[in-house]
């Protein structure tokens, strides 16, 4: 087991509901400093709800139990006062369409983001350095749609990294992008995260992706984390039925032989 003093983020006993329906049930997991953790689950498992709770958003699902411990401060999910997300957590949405205002120029959006996290909208040298390290050119007067999606996604990443976060959350980093761009974006993130010692939380439905990048993986289904542990160990011997299903469907060629027998069970 890992020692607790390395932990950067701990979510304990998080439960949330929409009206009376419980959508998250007693979730606990942790992320160490500089570590990459993946949360894997099918659609409807509650992955996005978990993220929304962590970011302090209480609608549509409102948390009713649990606490979030991040970098030395503890926050109760139920407390009404501290809805704002903890400082030091940054979030990159799944799709550039969800991250940008399509009608505002990129330059303006960048300055707004900078103003919120640093208090000043002036473009300074460290921001230029960040742009350079992500391989982005200057904005000019362009709108989001004038950039390619890969560039947009990298710019979103840049905006997320503006505030020098200690934890970066990526929501389905590959699903909206084609493989070339996705690989490029992920490569950038990984390099940057290693340089700056940023922890990563990748939320995805693709176990192959998690297996490739994450040191630890949490498997979610129906609002619960059913397994959490070292990725390699989990891939070798999953303990739960859902974990086994996910592992056996990780790669394409396995599905050909097993697809027929299990398909009725899973839907």
């Amino acid at each position: 087991m890992r020692t607790d003093n390395k932990a950067l983020l701990k979510v304990e006993n998080l439960s949330a509901r929409i009206d009376r329906q419980v959508v998250l049930d007693n979730l606990s997991f942790e992320v160490d400093q500089g570590e990459c953790v993946a949360v894997v689950g099918g659609s409807g498992a509650g992955k996005s709800t978990l993220l929304r709770c962590m970011m302090g958003l209480t609608r549509p699902a409102s948390p009713y139990r649990g606490s979030l411990w991040f970098g030395g401060t503890e926050r109760c999910f139920t407390s009404k006062k501290q809805h704002a997300r903890p400082e030091g957590i940054a979030f990159v949405p799944q799709n550039p369409d969800h991250g940008f205002d399509p009608l505002k120029r990129l330059n303006w959006q960048w300055r707004q983001a900078a103003r919120i996290v640093t208090g000043s909208s002036a473009f300074n040298a460290s921001q230029q350095a960040l742009m350079d390290s992500l391989g982005l050119r200057s904005f000019g007067s362009s709108f989001p749609h004038q950039w390619s999606r890969g560039m947009q996604q990298r710019l979103l990443l840049g905006i997320a990294l503006l505030g020098k976060p200690r934890l970066l959350i990526l929501d389905e980093p590959t699903s909206a992008l084609d493989s070339l761009i996705a690989a490029q974006v992920l490569r950038t993130v990984m390099t940057y995260a290693q340089e700056q010692d940023i922890a990563l939380l990748i939320v995805t439905h693709d176990l192959a992706l998690a297996a490739r990048f994450a040191t630890r993986t949490a498997i979610m289904t129906a609002g619960q984390i059913v397994e959490f542990g070292e990725t390699s160990k989990l891939l070798d011997e999953p303990n739960t039925a859902y974990g086994k299903l996910l592992v056996s469907h990780r790669n394409w060629e396995v599905a050909v032989s097993h697809g027929d027998t299990v398909s009725a069970a899973a839907e």
Binding site: S43, S179, D206, A208, L209, H249, W252, A255, A264
Partner: protein
């Protein structure tokens, strides 16, 4: 069975697709891959007459319906006779007001079946895609994405087409359901010898299911190879990058499995 030569699409003077030629054999799977914006979906739309396309020539010889031979401009025809189309987003593709059974039945409207025949055809198609016949009375909002996509597949299948076009059929589904639906597609193909033309950006899927791979980039063909050759020795530098990227994301098996299918890989 389908041979396309020199297809070009120009919209407002801008060339979307240029000099596309390929052919597909009966019972084979052609995967069309490429980055977003490369013209994959446009190619599908052009083949179905939804975009003003300029054909050098198009010859489609299905087993069970009239052959189609075209030259020059073609637009506004209701697809190639004997073919069906499965869309990317199953919820958007199905009429939200209609029960699934009615949506599926509409696909064979032109055959003037009696009510019992129609019912039988619909429940046959549903069981073919591993759905319970009871689902026929549900509306799209009352089923899961995977079930809705299976219903779309049933809708295509009920007309017993010789060719089914798929536009990113799996990208709206999660990893497990993707593989199950893919297995169902495979079984149907083995059983009926249907030809599949599948647009995808998932090379892992292409590696497993394709007989032939067509890679597009900026509206031009970058590679037109049998799947085995493509993954072993891609035609161009760009395809190598594409394969490397897929490998980097962990989506591509290290060793590309040899696929056994109804039609063995023939070059054309």
């Amino acid at each position: 069975m389908l041979r396309v030569e020199n297809l070009g699409v120009r919209i407002h003077g801008e060339t979307i697709l240029d000099a596309i030629s390929f052919c597909v054999q009966q019972g084979q799977t052609l995967c069309i891959a490429g980055e977003s914006g490369s013209g994959k979906s446009s190619l599908l739309r052009a083949l179905n007459g939804l975009l003003p396309a300029e054909f050098g020539s198009l010859a489609f010889h299905p087993k069970s319906s009239e052959p189609t031979e075209l030259e020059g401009r073609w637009r506004g025809v209701r697809g190639l006779p004997g073919s069906r189309w499965v869309m990317q987003d199953p919820i958007a593709a199905l009429n939200p007001k209609l029960p699934l059974g009615v949506s599926i039945g509409e696909s064979v409207f032109s055959k003037n079946l009696s009510a019992t025949e129609l019912n039988d055809a619909v429940s046959d198609a549903l069981s073919e895609v591993e759905l319970l016949p009871e689902l026929a009375v549900r509306r799209p909002s009352e089923v899961s994405m995977g079930q809705a996509q299976r219903a779309c597949l049933a809708r295509a299948l009920v007309a017993r087409p010789d060719l089914i076009f798929f536009d990113e059929p799996l990208s709206a589904l999660d990893a497990i359901v993707q593989k199950q639906v893919a297995a169902t597609m495979r079984r149907i193909q083995m059983r009926y010898g249907t030809t599949f033309i599948i647009v995808t950006h998932d090379l892992g899927f292409a590696a497993t299911y394709a007989d032939h791979v067509l890679v597009l980039r900026n509206g031009k063909i970058e590679a037109n190879q049998s799947a085995g050759n493509f993954f072993r020795s891609p035609e161009s530098r760009y395809c190598e990058e594409l394969i490397l990227a897929a490998r980097e994301l962990g989506g591509l098996p290290e060793v590309v499995p040899a696929k056994q299918g109804p039609g063995e890989a023939r070059s054309c």
